[in-house]
Amino acid sequence: MLIKMWLNGKAVRAHIKSDTLLLDFVREQGCKSVKYGCDTANCGLCTVMLEGEPVLSCSTLAARVEGKHVVTLEGLQDEAREFGEFLADQGADQCGYCNPGFIMNILAMMKELDDPTDDEIKEYLAGNLCRCSGFVGQMRSIRNYIKSKKEGRHAAEESA
C-alpha cells in the first residue's frame, strides 16, 4: 500500500506492507537514529514524535501515520546537539545506543513541563532504559541542561 506522510518536515510517499512498523519505515527512509532494543515496548529506544507527542515507533503501524507528521532525532539536530553536549560533559553515555530515544523524550519533556523536579524527570523518563549506567550521570546532565535553559530565558527576559 502507498502512504503519504511528513518525515522531519519533508513529504514522503512510499510503498509499505500492511504490517510495516513505523520503526522499520523510518529506518528505511534513512533515519537510523531510531533503534530497536527490547522487543516488548519497554525500552523507549524507538521513540519518535508523532504530531508532537513521543510515541513508540516499534508498536505503531506505518500505515497509521498516513497524512501525519513524524519527527525523529535527525529532524531535531540542533536541540539534540545542545543537550548532547551536557550529556557528554557528564560522561553519562557509555555505549550510546539508548541516547537517541532518551534525547527525544527529554525534548518532549522540556516542551511539556516547565522546570520539572527530580521526581517529575524520573517519572517522565521511566520509559527510557539504559543498561550501561545507573542514570546518575544522565540526571546530572538533565539538571544542568534545565538550569542553562532557565538562565538563557532569564537573560533574554532581562535584555528585553
Partner: protein, 312 residues
C-alpha cells in the same frame, strides 16, 4: 521356543528404546519449533490494513474470526498470530474525553496518557486515575496505548480495568448498547466494538495503590477502592487474574462511623479473607493476599483520614 521369546523380547526392548530415543528428540524438536515460533523476534503478521470509514463497516469486518480491531497494538504486536485484516478505528471512534454535566464520555481510542493528564477526571478521582496509570511502562507507551484496547483486553495485569471497576463505569458498545463495566469484565470476548467508556460523576471517594517489583513492571497486586454512600468497593487486580470486586459486608459497614483505623482494618480483613489469588513469577498467592490486606488498609486510610491522605 525360549530362544525365540528372548529374541522377540530383546528386539522389543531395542525397539522401545529406539522409539523412546527418537520420540524424545521429536518432542524436543517440536517444543523448540513452538518456542521459536513464539520467540522474541516473532511479531504479529498483518495481511491487510483497513482504516474503517464507518462503525458499521468495522463491525462487519470484525465478524470474521481472523480479523482484528487495532487499539494501541502494544499487546497485540507481541503475539505471533496472523491477522487477515487489521481494522483501524482512528477515523470513526473518538480519542478525546468529553466532559458532560453528569459524566465523562471517553472515546475508546483515547490514549491512556490523556486520562492521566486530564484535570477534571483527576479532580473527580482525587488523582487516583493518574496514580493508576503513571507506572505503566513510560510516557511514550501511554501515548500509544488506548483505553478501549485496555478495557476490551480485560487483562489480568490491567491497572486500567482495576481503576475503572472502582468507579461508576459503563462500556458503550456499537451493537450491545451500554453495559456496566462489572458485567462487561465477565462477558466472553465477542465481536462487538467498544465506542466509549462512560464514567458517571457519582459522588464517591476513591484511591488507587499498587505494589510493583520494579517501577514500570506489571503490578504484583493492584488495589482500587471507592466509598459511595452505602457501598464500599474494593477492587483487587493483578491477582494475577482479572480484577475482582469485593464489597464491604454488613459487619464491616457497621463500623463506618468508628475510627478510620478500625474501619480500614476491618475492611482489609474482609478483603484478605475473600480475595482469590494465585502464584506466578512476580509473587506467591500468599504474598498477594498479604498485599491485598496492606493496600486495602492504606488506600482506605488514604480516603478516610485526611492526615494520611495527602491529596484527598
Amino acid at each position: 521356543m525360549l530362544g525365540l521369546f528372548f529374541l522377540l523380547f530383546n528386539l522389543g526392548i531395542a525397539y522401545s528404546d529406539f522409539f523412546k530415543y527418537h520420540l524424545r528428540w521429536f518432542i524436543t524438536a517440536v517444543a523448540l519449533q513452538r518456542y521459536r515460533g513464539k520467540g522474541a523476534s516473532e511479531l504479529i503478521t498483518i495481511k491487510k490494513y483497513v482504516r474503517a470509514e464507518s462503525l458499521e463497516q468495522a463491525y462487519q469486518l470484525n465478524q470474521k474470526r481472523s480479523n482484528r480491531i487495532l487499539g494501541g497494538m502494544l499487546w497485540m504486536k507481541m503475539s505471533s498470530n496472523t491477522v487477515q485484516c487489521a481494522i483501524d478505528l482512528s477515523d470513526v471512534i473518538s480519542r478525546e474525553i468529553d466532559e458532560r454535566e453528569d459524566s465523562f464520555v471517553i472515546g475508546a481510542m483515547t490514549p491512556l496518557r490523556e486520562l492521566e493528564t486530564n484535570k477534571s477526571l483527576n479532580q473527580y478521582t482525587c488523582g487516583a486515575i493518574r496514580e493508576s496509570l503513571r507506572s505503566i511502562v513510560g510516557i511514550q507507551f501511554r501515548n500509544t496505548a488506548t483505553v478501549g484496547g485496555s478495557v476490551y483486553g480485560r487483562f489480568g495485569f490491567s491497572d486500567v480495568l482495576t481503576m475503572l471497576l472502582a468507579l461508576d463505569t459503563s462500556v458503550q458498545l456499537y451493537r450491545g448498547g451500554i453495559v456496566p463495566l462489572e458485567t462487561y469484565a465477565n462477558m466472553p470476548y465477542d465481536n462487538d466494538i467498544i465506542v466509549n467508556i462512560i464514567i458517571k460523576k457519582t459522588p464517591l471517594k476513591t484511591a488507587y495503590m499498587s505494589s510493583r517489583n520494579t517501577r514500570t513492571d506489571f503490578p504484583v497486586l493492584a488495589c482500587a477502592i471507592s466509598f459511595y454512600k452505602d457501598e464500599q468497593r474494593v477492587v483487587i487486580g493483578a491477582r494475577p487474574q482479572k480484577a475482582m470486586i469485593i464489597r464491604a459486608d454488613e459487619n464491616v459497614q457497621k463500623l463506618i462511623d468508628s475510627e478510620a483505623e478500625v474501619y480500614a482494618q476491618a475492611l482489609a480483613g474482609q478483603v484478605k479473607r475473600e480475595v482469590l489469588t494465585s502464584s506466578n513469577m512476580r509473587g506467591s498467592a500468599e504474598y498477594r493476599r498479604h498485599l491485598a490486606y496492606v493496600l486495602t488498609k492504606r488506600a482506605s486510610l488514604h480516603i478516610l483520614d485526611p492526615k494520611e491522605a495527602g491529596i484527598c
